[in-house]
Symmetry: C2
Subunit: 232 residues, 2 copies
DNA sequence: ACAGTTATTGGAATGTGTTCTAATTTCTGG
DNA sequence: CCAGAAATTAGAACACATTCCAATAACTGT
């Protein structure tokens, strides 16, 4: 019945924007067209945020197991049914939590951009920063990463990471022309290697240093011929 | 009550060796030392095999969902409790099934080794062959790969793949000296990229050609300075 | 063949994700 | 403020992995 949601420090350390609202009756409803956007009132944003916060808080304790739907609902002060209206499955909820995490990382990077001279160095910088962030909440990280890879759901995770890497690695080549498809592929690959290394770390089979070493090796080779970023 | 287990065509197309037996009461039992090895009778091998076959058969139909523990037990002709004695969790069962798959791939490669001249080419060859194999049973592939990544369990998947790649890419450098740690890391990275691409394909976001293109790009860069294999 | 150990069985019981329902509350447009 | 639409709620209900248990069968060393 209580609501308060205390702790929630994680990846970077700032607040950040969120996405949509509840999944308002999509599909052919029984009658009139449902509000296309999905979001209606401000209180729905609140609810959504409360749910995500509660979920994150729980996950940062005992991992996925601790993040039980019933508990999340209770902690967020909503009915189980409502929780399921907002997040059709546990996975969707996890994805949402991760979304917030990435938002944090992005704003963190915007605030303090990677300083390395070469593209690979900058990419490594970003990835290792994210790694440190995740290491602070192992349980949560574990839960999130695992679930993410698992999910059927659209997972912007890899893509967002790849995008981020492309951006920090090979800044704006010209004006309208974005990154090469090849660059995107390479960045995506580096991201997937990173995720894999993270998983290994969470399994206790990698130390931070080992990850760094591996990421450096891979980044160096993958980003060898990336167009150097114009010195800002 | 029935036992027969018909279909089971998958990765390569041959039979292959299996691993251990049931997880005979490990941990400090109530009394005498349990048989260390785990395997006892021949019938236990049979049982184990039946279980794995049943599991694979079911998974190749409706994926993980169809592979319900009760059903597997029933199809394999064992009690639920017995199934759990052999495989403490569904994940363990999945891992076992995957193990068989990899065995198949390995023997397939042994039979018809990759022909490309350069290391990267051979690696791509192997990975794409495995890809085609998995594509034949999408449901099973999906189930297996997802579960594998998810699991807490020791997952020889990535490691075995990496080992395989190292082997086909940079054959025996000398006599006693195995591959460099760096080579292992690179091979492992390529394997993780491949797994990621597979997942994307299973999600319908990649075609076979796209995967090939990406794997080629990545392999080329990662294996650029691999010691060329001595022409057999 | 015996006694003790371990494996197998059938089935009940538990935990948690997910679905469903009927009643109640909140919105929205007029 | 009213009527209908959509959201929320409390809680039951369901599905499936996992655990437990008592009884029985199979196996081992002697």
């Amino acid at each position: 019945m209580t609501i308060e949601v205390p702790e929630t420090p994680r990846l970077a350390g700032t607040s950040a924007p969120s996405t949509a609202g509840p999944v308002t009756s999509k599909g052919a409803g029984v009658h009139g067209e449902p509000s296309a956007t999905g979001v209606r009132t401000r209180s729905q944003h609140q609810r959504r945020k409360r749910i995500i916060q509660a979920a994150a808080a729980l996950a940062s304790r005992g991992g996925v197991e601790a993040m039980q739907m019933r508990t999340v609902a209770e902690r967020a002060g909503v009915a189980l049914g409502t929780l399921y209206r907002y997040f059709p499955s546990k996975m969707d909820l996890v994805v949402a939590v991760v979304g917030e995490e990435i938002d944090l990382l992005e704003s963190s990077i915007e605030r303090r951009p990677p300083g390395a001279a070469d593209p690979a160095g900058r990419a490594v910088d970003v990835l290792m920063r994210a790694t440190r962030g995740l290491m602070r909440e192992p349980e949560l990280a574990d839960a999130l990463i695992r679930s993410l890879i698992m999910t059927e759901v659209e997972t912007p995770f890899g893509d967002r990471m790849a995008g981020l890497l492309v951006r920090v690695a090979g800044e704006r080549p010209g004006e309208g022309d974005g990154p090469t498809e090849e660059q995107v592929a390479l960045a995506g690959s580096l991201a997937s290697v990173w995720v894999h290394e993270l998983l290994e770390m969470l399994r206790g089979r990698r130390t931070y240093e080992q990850i760094q070493w591996r990421i450096e090796i891979v980044a160096t080779r993958l980003f060898a011929d990336f167009p150097a970023a114009p010195p800002s």
